[in-house]
Symmetry: C2
Subunit: 470 residues, 2 copies
Amino acid sequence: MDIVGKSEVLYKKEDLISYECDGYTMYKGMPRAVVFVKDTQQVSDVVKCLNKEEIPYIARGAGTGLSGGATPLGGEVLISLVKMKRMLHLDLENRKAVVEPGYINLKLTQSISDKGYYYAPDPSSQYACTIGGNVAENSGGAHCLKYGVTTNHILGLEIVLPSGEIVEIGEEGVPDRPGYDLLGLLTGSEGTLGIVTKVTVKVLKNPEGKKTVLAYYDDIDDASQAVSDIIAAGIIPAALEMMDEVAIEGVESAAYPVGHPRDIAAFLLIEVDGIAAGIDDQIEEILTVCKQNNVREVKVAKDETERGLWWANRKMGFGAMGAISPDYLVQDGVIPRTRLPEVLAKITQISRKYDLRIANIFHAGDGNLHPLILFDASVPGESERASKAGSECLKVCAEVGGSITGEHGVGIEKSAEMRFIFTDEEIAAQTNIRDVFNPEDLLNPGKLFPQPGRCVEVTRADHEEIHLVP
Amino acid sequence: MDIVGKSEVLYKKEDLISYECDGYTMYKGMPRAVVFVKDTQQVSDVVKCLNKEEIPYIARGAGTGLSGGATPLGGEVLISLVKMKRMLHLDLENRKAVVEPGYINLKLTQSISDKGYYYAPDPSSQYACTIGGNVAENSGGAHCLKYGVTTNHILGLEIVLPSGEIVEIGEEGVPDRPGYDLLGLLTGSEGTLGIVTKVTVKVLKNPEGKKTVLAYYDDIDDASQAVSDIIAAGIIPAALEMMDEVAIEGVESAAYPVGHPRDIAAFLLIEVDGIAAGIDDQIEEILTVCKQNNVREVKVAKDETERGLWWANRKMGFGAMGAISPDYLVQDGVIPRTRLPEVLAKITQISRKYDLRIANIFHAGDGNLHPLILFDASVPGESERASKAGSECLKVCAEVGGSITGEHGVGIEKSAEMRFIFTDEEIAAQTNIRDVFNPEDLLNPGKLFPQPGRCVEVTRADHEEIHLVP
């Protein structure tokens, strides 16, 4: 408290309740305290103080994470970065901006759009999530098919290491930095290697033009084939999204209904951007491919308003599940694009096996699936069934040569599933690196990796307190 | 010898001479032996055997590296990967290929171009350099402005660790792998963390169209301004190269003269690719920008033959210096694009100070400079002056917020210059990671990082033997 002042520390139970979890609500845990820091030096001082007392701690941004990365498992102190929310420097000529970690993702684009620039990574939570959190999770978004995920847009970081030391990594936009790629290593390390205190990001020039297509399909395999054919034609759309029947039922019951037909099997939302002259040709080609794959109806957004509504409807996707189910669990697998039909069929089998509806909303273009498993936590046993169904979906992804997370991170949720894709040696190669940065394991312990030698099965939160099974 | 057979080991002095250095010829050292391996298991067995005997070793590809990464400093055994040169798997539908490390870069594009695909990273040595070497150095090329360097094109690696263990990293083309980004960490680690034995790379669809512009300038500042203005206009050319007067003298005296005027200050070589419909508009815009910046003459390649000649002339760049100077030293700095005129002026000052001609060939679009310092090693003191001038060029790059290497790596050449951009703590953060993978420091010792506590100033090679100053 001497470091940040009494007003910047929460420690009463009633104040701490909203910090029991992040956007992944299946597990909850009570933090020891929440500390709001306002600059890098304070982060360093707080970390040094916690080290001395051997108290574990976690950095937290907006708490929109979907895998429990910022959820306390064993009474950690949360270091909240939301008050470090300034833009420190904007250099449009060299296409970069320097922001504090609590700076909100969407605010960056909003603050430079009048000058013709934007920040590319656009997670659906971008109105709330922070750039620091995006770095920790290496967040993606609908447009990462063409523009890449967060790691492709980070030029430099300032980090407070678990020792309390402050280091700068990267900084300038050079195509190949000498030495090891620490910038890549830190990005997506889920808050286990250091605390980000400053971020230099790339900003991009707005594309000259942009057009958006909506295609309705009676058969989901036709939609999947259209996805493959569009990519095979050499087009790289800015976004190529798919939603299935159950997902459509959700978004049409939520805040931004578009009037999608309720009896289709799936729709594709396809956006093309770039040099104005090239766009019309690409749109023509996309329309042709859609028609060749038995599309029921296909249309181009007639203006910016219609385009905006289609995207608002899509970005409501996860939240909209609340309109058709008391609870839902979002999964995040990745598969080779060509295996889409086969994997979707297996997800349908999983849905039947566990007697739970599964909605599919996904970044089809890069094979990043989001099966949303609908359940009712008040029905005994349903939460467990949902969790098992989710894990089985990830197993299917791993079995076709994919991965257990596309953009939401491992956190608590998928730490056991890391074994689907990594051998013991491969996990050891990673935890050895963690030990270099974080030798006492006080920073965000128990996350990201399966815990050898001890059982970290945290029992499901009863919305009151956490039970740690040692 | 029991592992690979007697015919696969070189150990006589006359056989070892051509392995004394790689493409960086300022330092040379005699290896203890050269071992040619033919598969992953052999690499693992050789590494285990060398570990047992505590003999240091280095992996070597084609030996085209430009910073001495594969040069023995202290009697290391060279493990040559040139016989592991097969393509193991090609999956065009999912846009990837799996190759052995000794597979030659250009061969990949040649083997898939008839099907409409190519491999993007194109170092000027691509006719000889290997994909494994490209991974070690994170190689770039003329087209990395638009397409990124090697790390942006690697999907997976198989690695033999210094322990002899074989691990797989990555493998599928997923946008965000869980856990730490080991793929990024290994790529560009200059052979100090492990030996690459298999590489999964992305292949890209050929662009629909491609056009190339050549612009001659009387004033190099006008050319620099044109570079900035093209990028500022929102165009991302596939390549945006610059060559100055001395460099032009070189390439016009070498194998592929184009007939560039000898009295210009610089030319720009600009290539645009993508969807056919968009290209003409971009070319129009580029021509306008060139003219606004006082171009003397600007033209578009009239056909594929002319375009090919322009590129052959450009790619001869480094080698062409041999036509106008007995020796040359190529440097590899990176600067923010907007600082070009100021840095070029400083390089001219360095040229005067050391009384050595400096040619400039560079990837202007991404601020990656290649000052070529011309000297005559037979003149006493000139090598030392060239080396100092090179170091001073890098210092200028570091001072304007740039970096000491864009794509050639640190190796022996720039290990001391790492201090221009990294603090002791930042270097320690990196060497701590090396120690995790390479705890005995038997794999490629003495490279990449400044050597604390001991002097690694290797005296300049006298073309006979190496003197290690301990």
